[in-house]
């Protein structure tokens, strides 16, 4: 069986900003969501003319 791509046999990494505590994994997902959202707004959509 393949092992995990990331070594999970240790405590998770966390970011701290004052009272805010956030895991690196959740931070990466939030950044990805922002990137995808901005790209969805900015990148033109090829509709193929199926709109009225």
């Amino acid at each position: 069986m393949l092992g995990a791509l990331v070594d999970l046999s240790h405590p998770g990494h966390y970011l701290h900003w004052g009272f805010i505590q956030l895991s690196v994994a959740n931070f990466v997902v939030i950044v990805l969501m922002i990137v995808v959202f901005v790209a969805a707004v900015a990148i033109p959509f090829r509709s193929g003319g199926r709109h009225r």
């Binding site: 969501m33 959202f37 969805a40 509709s47 199926r50 709109h51 009225r52």
Partner: protein, 250 residues
């Protein structure tokens, strides 16, 4: 035997009968509850509105894709969830195929929430509750909240140290919120049944109502763009193309 078959009803799609006309009751049957329910359903969602061939031009944006991506992820979650139910815990814990389906189920959930949050952001920034679409917005918000419960009970059903840790932490949180009497998150059987029966039904019904409301009211149009900034919506309006959907903007 062949003379007993109603030839009108066996013609199928080649029949010229208008589905809206065929929904009208026979004279004298107008007061029957079946006729009234059928009439109300067809008036609210005629077939052309329920499954339209074309969308307004402003829907040609990637922002409008996140809703159907969320729904697609939900279908993946349902299908893999049914497979996990059919094969049982020892299969999904021990066999390679079971672990694969378990992982697809987990990553389906990750994508479901990923796209649902993006869908929520998009609809929030375009104030998608405009034009009598408040109920569409509210069913979406409630679906999001119930989905969190469905995912939470899924994490409790992992049968590992992670689920034990989550359940003991959640017990204190739910007790502090005053709802501990209604849920025993340390009861694995109770949480598993919430996860595989009650919450999926609730999320599925809410998504169904949400989609029907989207079809009934149409997709909300974007905010007007200031003069001088031309978009595809403006160009479509300049060409006189139809932009309106059901319900006026407020």
């Amino acid at each position: 035997m062949s003379d007993m078959i109603d030839t009108e009803s066996t013609r199928g799609p080649t029949s010229s009968v208008d589905p809206v006309d065929s929904a009208r009751p026979a004279p004298g049957d107008e007061g029957m509850w079946t006729a009234r329910v059928r009439g109300a359903a067809v008036r609210a969602l005629p077939p052309g509105k329920l499954l339209p061939d074309r969308q307004p031009s402003y829907v040609a944006s990637w922002v409008y894709v996140f809703g159907i991506l969320s729904f697609s992820a939900f279908v993946v979650i349902l299908v893999t969830g049914v497979v996990l139910i059919l094969r049982g815990p020892s299969w999904w814990h021990e066999s390679r195929t079971g672990l694969f389906f378990n992982s697809i189920h987990l990553w389906g959930v990750e994508l479901f929430f990923f796209f649902m949050v993006l869908h929520l952001w998009g609809k929030f920034f375009m104030a998608a509750w405009r034009g009598k679409r408040a109920l569409t917005w509210m069913t979406g918000v409630v679906t999001f909240a119930v989905s969190i419960g469905a995912a939470f009970t899924g994490y409790l059903s992992q049968q590992n140290f992670d689920s034990q840790w989550i359940s003991t932490q959640a017990k204190d949180g739910l007790n502090a919120a005053g709802v501990g009497a209604f849920f025993n998150v340390l009861n694995f059987g109770q949480m598993l049944l919430w996860h595989v029966l009650l919450l999926p039904i609730a999320v599925g019904v809410l998504i169904g109502i949400h989609l029907l409301l989207v079809r009934r009211r149409g997709v909300v149009r974007p905010f007007p763009v200031p003069v001088g900034r031309h978009t595809s919506t403006d160009r479509a309006a300049a060409r006189g193309e139809a932009l309106s959907t059901e319900g006026a903007d407020r």
